[in-house]
């Protein structure tokens, strides 16, 4: 039998571990990115490492925030109807954000 709660628990931890090096890579480049101009920012995505890391960051970040926000809703929201609505908003947001990010990334590379 599948245990849904255990799966969520596990995915939250696994995504957390995966996000550690991805976040560090991003934060490492952050100051340079802020100080550089448009062409400089484009140059950042001129190699496969940046593209792959950024794509993974978008996917695992969205997964992790979906589970984290869902947990907070579970703990603090009593009203069943409101809970359903908020969970739908979270689901939609966590899908739209990485899709917008990845589509933008594809446009930048092409």
């Amino acid at each position: 039998m599948k245990n849904h709660a255990l799966n969520k628990w596990l995915i939250q931890r696994v995504s957390a571990i995966v996000l550690i090096p991805l976040l560090l890579f991003f934060l490492h480049s952050l100051v340079d990115l802020v100080n550089t101009d448009y062409t400089g920012a484009l140059d950042f995505f001129d190699n496969y490492l940046s593209i792959i890391i950024f794509t993974l960051f978008l996917i695992f970040g969205a997964l992790h925030l979906k589970l984290g926000l869902g947990e907070i809703i579970e703990d603090y929201i009593q009203d069943g109807g409101l809970k359903v609505i908020l969970n739908k908003i979270i689901m939609l947001t966590s899908a739209i954000l990485p899709i917008v990010g990845i589509v933008s990334l594809i446009i930048i590379i092409l």
Partner: protein, 123 residues
């Protein structure tokens, strides 16, 4: 749908504040703040894809005093959530439960998060 009037967890209204609970609620708050940070990152890459006019507009905001303040704040929020997350992972594996150890690791997390933010932006 039937209204559930049972108690909510964690009972923040009646909780006696301690260093450990403060770090715990900060973990959740930084988690929520990081969602906004994630949103800004997606917006950044979207503006980069839209072209220089959009990107320069966004860039100008990020380079302003308010923008820098927000960026440094987000950096600390992400770094704190990461270090405290590692602390949580250690607990998941059964390490560091003793009160003294938990308090010490909390202080280390706080110290490391500030130090890392400082290193990223100042050096």
């Amino acid at each position: 749908m039937e209204k559930n009037s049972g108690p909510l967890s964690p009972h923040i209204q009646i909780y006696k504040w301690q260093f450990s609970s403060l770090l715990s609620i900060t973990h959740r708050m930084t988690g929520v703040i990081n969602v906004a940070g994630f949103f800004l990152i997606v917006l950044w890459i979207l503006f980069l894809a839209l072209g220089p006019e959009y990107y320069n507009f966004y860039q100008k905001f990020l380079r302003s005093f308010v923008g820098k303040f927000i960026l440094v704040g987000f950096t600390w929020s992400f770094v704190y959530h990461m270090f405290n997350g590692i602390r949580h992972l250690a607990w998941d594996f059964g390490y560091g439960y003793e009160i003294k150890t938990a308090n010490l690791s909390g202080i280390i997390v706080l110290f490391l998060s500030i130090l890392t933010t400082f290193f990223i932006w100042i050096i």
